[in-house]
Structures are given as structure tokens and as C-alpha cells.
Amino acid sequence: MNGQQGGKPHINRDHLLALLTGMVRIRRFEEKCAELYTEEKIRGFLHLYIGEEAVAVGISQALQPDDALVSTYREHGHALARGIPMGPVMAEMYGKVTGCSRGRGGSMHLYDAAHRFFGGNAIVAGGLPLAVGLALADRMRGENRVTVCFFGEGAAAEGEFHESLNLAALWQLPILFVCENNLYAMGTALDLSESEKHIYLKARSYGIASWPVDGMNVVDVEAAAIRACESIRAGAGPQFLECNTYRFRGHSMFDSQLYRDKDEIELWQKRGPIVRLQDWMQTNQMLHEADLPGIERIVAAEVEEAVAFAEEGEFEAESDLTRDVYTPRADT
């Protein structure tokens, strides 16, 4: 279990336990969200990241506090791995004013200025031009920071994907493109939508350094992210990682999954990112008996606190309906 591109992840017990905890946090948080959805505490669209946790956790290891993130509507994992506290994220799901976007965004639009988290964007590929601009601003201001842009393989069919890759390469911007290839754009298989099925090759055609990564292996993702971010900080321009992964749940809570076989899902679940790291650690005597129950206990308590925080929060007064359409002039 080592990085495949020569990056430098820390293969020690404490670090691996931290990675494992990071993934379990996202998993249990989202399982709770699904439960709360059926209880109608959470409404609207809810896109779960379950199965893809290794990507968010692996990438976030390579980031500094002042780096920027741009994400998609399947971004709970990115937000949590980035360090946005679980309570405000859960409160956002509830639509409460204590949510990380004051409840105005919901599941698909998590924002957090303190963590330079520039949204869940619910237009496929809509976040890519934004990320290009953030990276351009850093370039022009002489800031040595990275902008990470997450998107799914479905984005590769959009014009904004190609426009953004071209701009980033043309202007040699400090941006890390992370394609989470989970094989299905909603219910349309990659085979039915792309003539070139290796998304990383599309990036290479723009002159961007680009690699496929086993997105079910958190250490591989971390190693690739560290190497890519080092290159970006050294001025090597944009980098692109295609993380091959799989979502175990439907596209959203409304998805009956007619487009794929149960066998396929089970096959991927067997090599899921959490069991995989667990197994590897066990095989290598790095996982002690008390570790897993300990992690589960800590995470369960955090999820419980987050739910309590969301429950306790207030809904915003209707009299505030039209706030935050424009910036109050006193803010400027």
C-alpha cells in the first residue's frame, strides 16, 4: 500500500488511522443523512458520496489551510475532509440558519469562507471555470497557493471542462483538477457517453500533466495528490488526477438504479476504500483490536453532536428572505 507515483505519504500507524477515521467520518455522516432523509428532516436532492471517500480524504492530505477548493453537488465528503465542522454541515442539510451557508444552499451548496471552500456547484462542470479564476487570481497576486477542483467524469462531456483545461494549461495556472470517475453520470454509463473513456488522456491532450489513480486506495490518492501539489507549488502549472472510484448508493435519493447490476455494486463494495485500508492494516499488523471500535465510537459521538446541533438551530426568519442577494454596502 504505497504511493504509485513516488509521492511521500506517511506510512505509519497513526497516519493510517487518521485516514481511516477520515473516511469513516464521511461514511457514518452520510448514512445518518440518508436516515434523516427518510425521516424528512433533510429534503431536496441528497447525493451521497458513499464509496468514494478515499478521494476526498486522500486529496485533502496534500492541502494547506490557504488553498482553495471548488466542488460539486456531491460534496459532503470534500467539505468534511477539508475540516468544515460537521455540525454546520448537518445544519445546512436541515436548512437551518446555523448551517455553513445559512441554510440557503442545502446539501448541494456547502460554502465556507474560513476553509476557502467555494461551493458545491450543482451545474455539471460549472465549477471548473470558477476554479480557473481563483487560480488566476493567485497567479496575478503572487500567492503560492493551490486551487483544487473536484468534478465527476460526466463533466468531461461539457464544454466548460474543455474551455477550463485549455485556459489552465495556456496560462499555466496553479490548479489541481480531480476527476472522480465513478463510471456513471447519473444513470448514463461512461461507455454510453464518451468516445475516449480515459478522462486523464483528454487532459494530456491539453498539455496538462495527468495520471489515472486508484481512487479506492486512499494512500494512492494521497501520494498522487502530494506529488501533484508539489509540482504545482514549484510552478509546473496545472495537474490532473483521474481517480477511478464508484458510488455504492444511487445518484440521489430518488434513484432506483435500473442502469446497473447488483453484482457490479457488490464487486466494488468488496474493494471499498474503508475495508481495503482496514484489511491492509490488519494484514500488516497495524490495526489493533481496539482501534475500529474506538474510531466508530468517536465518530458516532461526532455525528450525534452534529445532529443535535442541526436540531437545535433555528430556521431563518421569513422577514430575512431577500438578504444576501446583494452585498450590504457597509460590508465593502
Binding site: G105, Y111, I123, L130, V132, L134, A135, M140, E160, L167
Partner: protein, 325 residues
Amino acid sequence: MTETTYREAIREGLREALQADERVFLMGEDVGHYGGCYAVTKGLIQEFGPERIRDTPLSESGFVGAGVGAALGGMRPIVEIMTVNFSLLALDQIVNNAATIRHMSGGQFSVPLVIRMATGAGRQLAAQHSHSFECWYAHVPGLKVLVPGTLDDARHMLKMALADPDPVIIFEHVLLYNQSGELSAAEPPPMEQAVVRRPGRDLSLISYGGSLPKALSAAEQLAGSGIEAEVLDLRCLRPLDAAAIVKTVSRTRRAVIIDEGWRSGSLAAEVSAIIMEQAFWELDAPVARVCSDEVPIPYPRHLEQAALPQVDEILAAANQVLGRS
């Protein structure tokens, strides 16, 4: 006071903004080496360099979105889109990102972005370069929409737009670029205020942008027959200065709205609705609208002119609301 043109006035505004704030930069198609497709940005790349006068590929969505991102990242970008029809390729970034991020983030992020674009017909450029979609953008909460119709506004509105913390779109009518005259010594009033360009008591001609000179010309002709028309220049289409609209109509009791957009669902319809809601009892006659005919703008000159609001149509509408037809 020196003689200048609308084009030069905009260029001076750009130059001043670039000198005043190092966060300001301009990007768009052919703004640099070519000098701007309407020559507005001619010479700026020599003065400010290719980093700040940044030529982009033909990627409207990409570079407008990059403007949104750069604004979020602490810059003060000015994005030029060649013409309003091309801006439709960037609608996603303008409507789904620029206009919504302040709201979706619960007020955490503002987008101080300025987008400039050419609009309007009159140069025989046919149906993909001649339309007036200002009203579409004016429909969207989160955006502000400016329509400079005078040299003074061409010179000074950019500075006001850059001082605004939210996304502002400036529409420059293609037929105004060559308009010449002298700048006033005083700076114009705040960008969200409508301005009476010609006072009068008999009826109100309410207009903006490229139609403003036509409204003023009609008022001049009406004066020849003893009719004093007041001309109100809206200047800003979102937010609309409803108080100024109500004020002029309350004084004259009759209104003609001149708008180069298509009549159905037009900005003129919105102004008319404001009058209906807020000044109905002040009216002595139904409101009239002079808009473009409901047809994609055709290429031949006679048909293009027939499709657009013209001075004689304004005169006819004025006579109608005055009961003189």
C-alpha cells in the same frame, strides 16, 4: 471640456480604473493585440501589458467563469464579451454562478465582477450579432445592469461598477461608439439613479442606451410643434429607479417607453407595469411602447431599420397618448 467619443470615453474609464487599482484587469476576446473588436481597448495592451489586458480564447463560458473566480479570489476583473449574442454562451456562469454565489453562500462570498458587452442593432450584422438581451439579465436577482446612453455615463459608469461589491453588467450600444461631444465637468449621479435628460410637462419619453438619442431627437421635433416632452434616461435596468419613473409620469400624466428589445416580455413591459401599479391614477392616457418588431434582426438595411424603434414611431406614439392622432 474637450471633444471626445463614446468609445474614447469608455477607454478613458478603463485606463483610469487600471491606473487606480492594481487588482483591476481586463480580459476577453481580442481585447489586447487586436485592440478590441470595436476598438474600445486599442492601445491598452501597450500601456498595461498582456497580463492585465488579457486576450482569451473563444471560450465565453470559460473566461466569464474565470472572471467570477478571480473576483472571488480578490481581483477586480473586467470581462469584455464581444457582443450580447455571444454572452448566451456564458449564461451559465453569469446566472448560475455570478448572480447566485452571494446568496448560496449565505453572504460569505461576494462577486465583484464587471462584465462589459456590446449590444443592439443598426450595423446590418443580422440575427446573431444584433439583439438586445439587456432585459434577460435585468430579470435576474443578484445582477446589476447598466446601460450608459451618454458620453458622461460611458466615461464614469465603469468606475461606479467597479466600486460595487456585486456583479455588474454594462451594455454598450454599438451605434453609440462613434457618438461625439464634450464631457461635463461634473461626475454623473450614482449609477442606480435615472436621470431626466430633457425636462418637459406634456408627456414622458422613457428610454435608455441606444434608444436614448432617438427619444431626444423625437422630443426636439415635438418641441417644434409646441409639445414639451420630458426624456427620462433609465441608466440602470436592475435595480430600476421606480421612483423616478413614477415622478415623471406624475408630472406629465402620459408616457411612451422606447426600448430596442422585442415588445413581448420587454423591459418596456416592466416599466409599463410599474406605472400601472404605482401611478395608474396619475395617467391621462394608456401607456404606449415603441419596441423592436417580433422578428430576428434581418440583414438588409431597409428591413433592419423597419424592425427597430424609429423617431417617427416615437412621434406617432407620442401623438397617440396626447390624443392628437
